[in-house]
Subunit: 410 residues, 2 copies
């Protein structure tokens, strides 16, 4: 039963939900190879166990020198240096650089002993075979990447909680890290409900039936958030059946999503079924958002449960705003994702009731955002949209021509 003291069947704002509905549950930890680690979330910081790049390296094509031998060099009075050897890529640089001598070195080649700088080949010319003129001075360290300049031993290479980006994998590979402990993809169990729902694959529908559009599409959003979605069989509009499905789901899920029936009765049944379970805590029943008001947020045994509104379009809107952050959090994310957006001018006046967040689908055309309307049962409004905009909870509307931020779907 719901914990005493918690508000029960209470509507909340979206801002509250994002700030306060933050389940402590985390997915398990597993080890993955680096080539499967893109986008995965490290469970702990990873430190360098050795210096990177590991040896002093030339950062230019040129000549390794003692910098002091080039001090005062100019076009008019060049420094003359004997070229005593050449470093080859991928080989030990064993030729010592002595006073007034230089050793040729390619970009990325090892700095030979005795040298403390590399003169770019562009700042030299051959005076005679075996001797170069240096026409510009170099400072000590110039043209050189120090042996620990990319990472000192013990330095943090990547941080826990931030999904691995391409450059993170590059640095880990360079540092000899070939496997990473990451959060497992949260197991997201999607429970479709409703007497009118048939499996998506059904070719012929009985009268009054529609196909399950949510298991595959909420699953796609769950996957986009790093989750591993699984749909259950369709549950009829029966509190006992939903309770059974929830009891089963809570055993092997990190997040549970209920695609509720669309009628008032079906919605109330969802809340009742959750509330009837042991260790269930209803955090809110009702969100100040349009579309999406009949959203339920709860915990069962610490596992977050998201009861989506019955209309598929509302369900997709709510899961994108509220569900995806929950999946990411359970999957170990500690950073915020900033969705892609563009600024556009609103094409027409837009009314909005104060006291709720309005999510408005828009089509973009030459810098203009055209709001799309239609019953919230219609999926075609969502598929026609290039993105969505949000009208803040305290706003009563926006005027045509207002600059708005449109969050993009691709």
């Amino acid at each position: 039963m719901a914990t005493a003291g918690r508000e029960f069947f209470t509507a909340r704002t979206v801002a509250d939900a994002l700030r306060e509905f933050r389940p402590g549950h985390r997915s398990t930890i597993e080890t993955v190879r680096l080539d499967s680690a893109w986008g995965r979330v490290p469970a702990a910081d990873i430190a360098a166990h050795e210096a990177l790049p590991g040896f002093d390296r030339s950062s230019v094509d040129g000549y390794a020198v003692r910098a002091s031998d080039t001090f005062g060099a100019s076009e008019a009075i060049p420094a003359y240096l004997r070229v005593t050897a050449a470093v080859r890529m991928g080989e030990d640089a064993d030729a010592q650089v002595t006073a007034d001598a230089a050793v040729a070195v390619p970009t990325g080649g090892m700095l030979p002993p005795g040298a403390d700088a590399v003169v770019m080949v562009e700042h030299t010319q051959e005076a005679m075979p075996g001797t170069i003129e240096v026409v510009r001075p170099v400072a000590p360290g110039e043209g050189v990447v120090r042996r620990d300049e990319d990472a000192a031993p013990g330095a943090r290479l990547v941080s826990a909680g931030r999904p691995l980006r391409a450059q993170d994998l590059a640095l880990l590979a360079a540092a000899g890290v070939s496997a990473v402990d990451v959060h497992a993809a949260p197991r997201v169990t999607i429970i479709p409900t409703g007497d009118e729902i048939c499996p998506a694959g059904e070719a012929e529908l009985p009268p009054g039936h529609v196909r399950d559009a949510l298991t595959v599409s909420i699953g796609a959003l769950a996957r986009e958030a790093g989750g591993d979605p699984h749909g259950t069989a369709i549950v009829s509009d029966d509190p006992g059946a939903l309770q059974d499905a929830l009891e089963l789901a809570v055993r092997d899920s990190d997040v549970i999503v209920i695609c509720a029936g669309s009628s008032v009765g079906a919605r109330d049944q969802t809340a009742a079924a959750v509330a009837a379970l042991d260790h269930a805590e209803i955090w809110c029943h009702g969100l100040a958002i349009k579309p999406g008001k009949p959203t339920l947020l709860a915990l069962i045994d610490g596992i977050p449960v998201i009861g989506l509104p019955g209309n598929p379009r509302s369900a997709l809107v709510v899961f994108r705003l509220i569900g995806m952050p929950v999946v990411r959090r359970v999957g170990g994310w500690t950073v915020e994702l900033h969705p892609a957006s563009v600024r556009a001018r609103l094409s027409r006046d837009l009314a909005s009731a104060a006291g709720r967040l309005d999510v408005v689908q828009v089509r973009l055309h030459e810098g203009e955002a055209e709001p799309l309307f239609g019953p919230s049962a219609l999926l075609s409004v969502l598929t026609a949209a290039d993105g969505y905009m949000v009208v803040a909870q305290d706003a009563t509307g926006l005027a045509a021509g207002a600059e708005v931020e449109v969050f993009l779907y691709v």
Copy 2:
């Protein structure tokens, strides 16, 4: 050999490359199930083969009525209607709605014959058992989703060339489409080269060697762009060996990426190896970008070849800007991807040479963008960055406090 008339070993601008280096080659087409189709690119438009939702449906909880029976209804003078039946979810609505009668119907329920509107339950009250008062008129069609309102038979559900989004999958599922013809993930072959390169897994490095940081990280970017990356064995700095590797790669690749050596000699060898092949066409050798100048773009037998600069950091910058759009195009994308970005104030003056595009790594802190500098060999500059900004080719710098667009890495 390169086609006569094409410029050979010519530097180009990034804008030119994005506009003009547009290979015609496309990956093959395969059929995938809907639950694996998220982000995949349809090879052709998909049309509805039946009306959606397929029957007239109530969009509210209420009473199906003849709208004309409610005309003029008000709180003061309600319309009285007999409730003759109730429609159940997922069942055929067979009770006819006659004059001055109403049939109860839930949200999503089938509109019973004879009715042309649904009065919301909130606009009714029970006058006596079996009779309701309707206190507001409804117009014909109100409270109803028409049988073909989400899609008429033959209407386009999704477009070729635009990656499938969650809502597209929802609409396809609703329409009974269970598999989609999509472009196969472009096979991206990554060829690491350089005498100094060891496989990433190597625990102990010989003197002067570094690990291959690019196969895994360019692979991650290729995957992010929808590709299927495969690394080859490391190729030594030898034109013959690279030619052999290219000849092999061109047979089963949709995009080829060469991670070139970093020295001038190694870079020239890459171009020479490509140019020496049959049906090779070098589109540019040199891009007006920093970092990334020694970029090579070419076609071999129509397959795009991207020769990346030798420094891992430059290579990642160039592949993100130039390579990922090529992978997406080959994979059938016909829309542009708009990367996530934020606006920020530049924390300091930033010099830039005109005539090249500068890509500057930045760290974000409280709305300020702090440029990060360091030799282009350093990966740690990239891993420390939250995103990057671009200084336009004709700009000579930006002043502290200027508003800049920062493209985000997460």
